[in-house]
Symmetry: C2
Subunit: 199 residues, 2 copies
């Protein structure tokens, strides 16, 4: 059985939970609070020297970090993975987009507004984070204006990766009503069999 | 034949060139200077709405952005891709690490020092970028103290992805001599058949 070291309110950890549930794979969840130093202990750093959740413990005892690499590992060969070479590349295109051009703005804006005190100096970062997050949402809106999903013409791990922090973007101060195609895609993702909420 | 829209001095674009050369795939290179607005023109944004190089034009005329998704597409089924499920997940683990925990610090420090004027206010970002970049180099050093390559026990696209900005990290003010296992790995990568330099 897999063990997930994760934080329930983290979108990156939610990706792994959602994939495990939709693939009907049994797992054990070990809650690690990264906001309270849980990813900085010697025990945790032995599992993932980069000190981040989620980290998946495999059935052979090894550890696999990086949410989108975990999604790939779990989904390979399943209905959640595209079944063509170009479809797989498109899924990875959007998964790398998520980690480089989306998460560092939309998830970080959410973190600052949700976890840091009202007078945190990091709140000064919000206007720049929100501008760059809106750019990412605009790129998604352009794609979804002609496509139902992100890769391979059907629901896949690319949708899971992007859903995780997009569906709760309001927490970071984003107005999703301004992106009607994104809004409709969120509803399509939520309607997939086996969908579970964040948390 | 593939067409690469890329900037010769960009590590992300160099990844694609190195893979194409080592896979002996013919390609055409179209130089796009992102520092002079070349990725912001309507023509370029029609190819990649996210406005970034590299973007690969496929043989069917479609476009594939994201350097690491391009690496995956080019290498699938070749000697540059791991041939086990766990090996593929490990390659992606390190490729997502590269885009999230390495490139935003090591490549951005290089960009600021190499492309912005001496009096740029962005130079104030360098101490933080260098601290986080050193953390990434430390994670690589830990891995390479017991492994020759990043995934699957042999040279792969994971090594190409991490070599691109690590081998020129001195441009960003990093001292690679402080990471002996990384230093030895750089020499192993450079010795691979078909290796070509950045630029």
């Amino acid at each position: 059985m897999y063990t997930v070291y994760g934080m329930a309110d983290s979108g990156n950890c939610y990706k792994v939970k959602l994939a495990l549930e939709q693939l009907k794979l049994p797992y054990r969840w070990v809650e690690v609070d990264s906001t309270q130093g849980g990813t900085r202990t010697p025990e945790f750093l032995a599992r993932n020297p980069n000190g981040k959740v989620p980290t998946l413990q495999l059935e052979d005892g090894g550890y696999l970090p990086e949410s989108n690499a975990i999604l790939w590992f779990l989904a390979e060969g399943s209905a959640l993975a595209p079944d063509t070479r170009l479809g797989r590349a498109r899924a990875l295109q959007w998964m790398f987009f998520e980690q480089y051009s989306h998460e560092p703005y939309i998830a970080v804006a959410r973190y600052i507004r949700r976890y840091l005190p009202e007078d945190s100096p990091r709140r000064a970062e919000l206007p720049n984070l929100q501008a760059r997050g809106r750019k990412a949402l605009g790129v998604m809106e352009t794609h979804l204006s002609t496509e139902l999903f992100f890769a391979g013409g059907r629901y896949s791990i690319a949708d899971i990766a992007l859903y995780a922090y997009t569906h709760c973007a309001a927490d970071g101060g984003f107005d999703l009503e301004a992106y009607p195609a994104v809004h409709a895609w969120l509803a399509r993702v939520k309607a997939q069999p086996g969908h579970v909420p964040l948390g």
